[in-house]
Amino acid sequence: MSKADTAALIIGGGIAGLETALKLGQGGYTVILAEKESALGGNVAKLHSSFPRWEDPQELIKVKQAELKTLPSVRVLANTEITGLQRQSGGFTAHWTDRATQKSGSLPVQALIFATGFELFNASVYGEYGYGIYKNVVNSLEFEHLLGMYEQRAIHVPESIAFFKCVGSRDRSKGFPYCSKICCMYTAKQAGLVKKISPDTQCYVFYMDYRASGKEYEEFVRQVIEERKVRYVRGRPSKVVLENDKLLVRFEDTLIGVPMEASVDLIVLASAVVPRPETLALARMLGLKTDDYGFVEPVYGSPVRIEERIFMAGGCGFAIESLGAIAQGAAAAAEVTALFNKSE
């Protein structure tokens, strides 16, 4: 068999899927990269600045995308959602729908890579925070969009902003028991970026503890607290009430142990990272193992191999930062390379 007879389908064109496509394409393997949105890049393409070195995520996507265009064996299908999967001998049949034209069809492939990413928990479950009720309570991805507008001076930066961490995470009664891993870091980034654009804006970050266990992560959070002057308050906010045009946040400062309140213009909720329901639906069609929440699971011993010919990369496995997603994307490409060389 030649490289042209075996094709890998990558489901999802976020940073993880992009990396897998790049590495396989550079090796000359036939790759189909299906992305349901009109543009590649997934969540990373929506970010403004990145931890831990204030890098530019959109630039990163641009560079990767430009490189992808130079690779003849990679076919990018934008607006294309993978809606069904069936196992065939030696591979799979994948069903797709073009979201722009509503056309649909199927294609045969010899390997599958889930790179479908994650979404954010719907924070309106917390009546006490007013998400979906008060217009100035937003989730962290919506806030990335606002950050872009602040940077371009398209809108005013508010006088005061409160960031709530662990919204839906570390909550067994209304959310999930797990920690979403990335929100401590991106909240520090978001608050720190606000202070860079508008040093007079008061920024509060409400935290139970901050988790900063990557290279340069601790230093990054300390920089945001000490140099950018973001005020970290230890306590989980309990209630938000509307007070004229302002939002009043009730909480306990758990270090001194007394109830307190803060009046702010905007609240940003670091909502839990949750799997996309579509990913779970696809996994079920193949009878794949997922965890209790619906994240796909690799076998013990490999970061990315789920089953024979089926791999994963990035946020569909669990919350992960962009560099981790890239690492898994590359690992998935290595697995596919090994597989295709074995079958040849």
Partner: protein, 191 residues
Amino acid sequence: MIETYAIRRPEAQESPIARQIREDLGIDVARCLECGKCTGGCSYAAGFDYTPRKIIQLVKLGEFDKLLSLDALWTCLSCQLCVDRCPSGINIPRIMDYLRARAHRANSNITHKNIEKFYEIMLSDIKNRGRISETIMMIKYNLAIKNLFANASFGKKLFLKGKLKFFSPRTHNIKTIQPLFRRLSEKDGQA
């Protein structure tokens, strides 16, 4: 609230009171994340000597005597807000009920004797009549705390609005209430 900081030596294992609360009420304080969401939302924390999160902490530390003499046991409104907010579903007012009953039985240093009296009178009224007559209760309560005119102006307002009746009849089916109390006192005897 000014505290002195005598150095304590907490045990590493589950404290006896934490264990009793787990066994008797099925509430495990080890689930507490120490986040303070209970206190931040509490209807009356500003009037507590120890706020809800700190009460859970006292349970963990096994500070039994302190727990029984808490002012907050008697001022908690049982409004359930903290339970609704708690990410670990810890039922703090249920723990408060439990500690209140134990404080009452142990005849410990209760800071709000009159609130304790109020509970006693209210429960004996329910036991004997199946329901409360607010007016009779108020009179009994004022007699008990030796202040005949306590809450008199408030009582007048309620009366004028038709919220207070001079007389309210006994429940028809008092027979269903009494076994309840019997069962409870049997349980009490065991505990």
